[in-house]
Symmetry: C2
Subunit: 116 residues, 2 copies
């Protein structure tokens, strides 16, 4: 699904319960023009900047990483993690490119449990 359609659906779900989630009010809280949000939601414009996406995610209770990914963007936070050690993470990511989800999850869990 497109970024815009996803946002619109998320907002409309919230708006059904709470009138504070009209396009105009959300735009106001996020700090952008209503007309701009309108075009984003209809995919007339490209997805907005990282900043705006992050605010939208918070406002609409959506996952930031996923929203950014739908916009074809990677958070500068995660980019910087890699850019600190490009060789190391480059290798790792290429290894993991075609690994099954469960393998990646397992690794994340192992590391969280700190067994190295």
């Amino acid at each position: 699904m497109s970024f815009g359609r996803h946002i619109r659906e998320a907002r409309e779900r919230l708006n059904a319960e709470d009138r504070a989630f009209s396009l105009r009010q959300v735009a106001l809280r996020v700090g952008i023009e209503p007309a701009y949000l309108s075009k984003i939601e209809r995919d007339v414009f490209q997805p907005p900047s990282e900043d705006v996406i992050v605010k939208l995610a918070a406002e609409l209770k959506e996952d930031e990483d996923i929203l950014l990914a739908m916009a074809g963007k990677l958070s500068t936070e995660l980019q910087n993690v890699i850019l600190q050690r490009p060789k190391l993470f480059g290798e790792l990511l290429r290894q993991l490119k075609s690994a099954p989800d469960h393998a990646i999850l397992r690794i994340a869990r192992e590391i969280r449990d700190g067994d190295w």
Copy 2:
């Protein structure tokens, strides 16, 4: 070290052995204006686009990922790996953010040896 200085030093090392690595000739082979490369090497201009950096890396026998990182860029190839599964890789990268190098290397090796 800055991107520009690094490029200049790499090129000058090669140029000492082989006159085919003058600024002009490298620029020609990479497909950019010599004046442009001159400014890049002196950090008068920002680092060039991903495309140009990749060609420079090949030309100067430098590591692409590292050169891109020095330019503050992450290859679209690696970005896409993450964007395919943003939630999964997001979690993993945040776990690995402060992991020691050897731990990351170990994981990469384990995966290469396919033990899942």
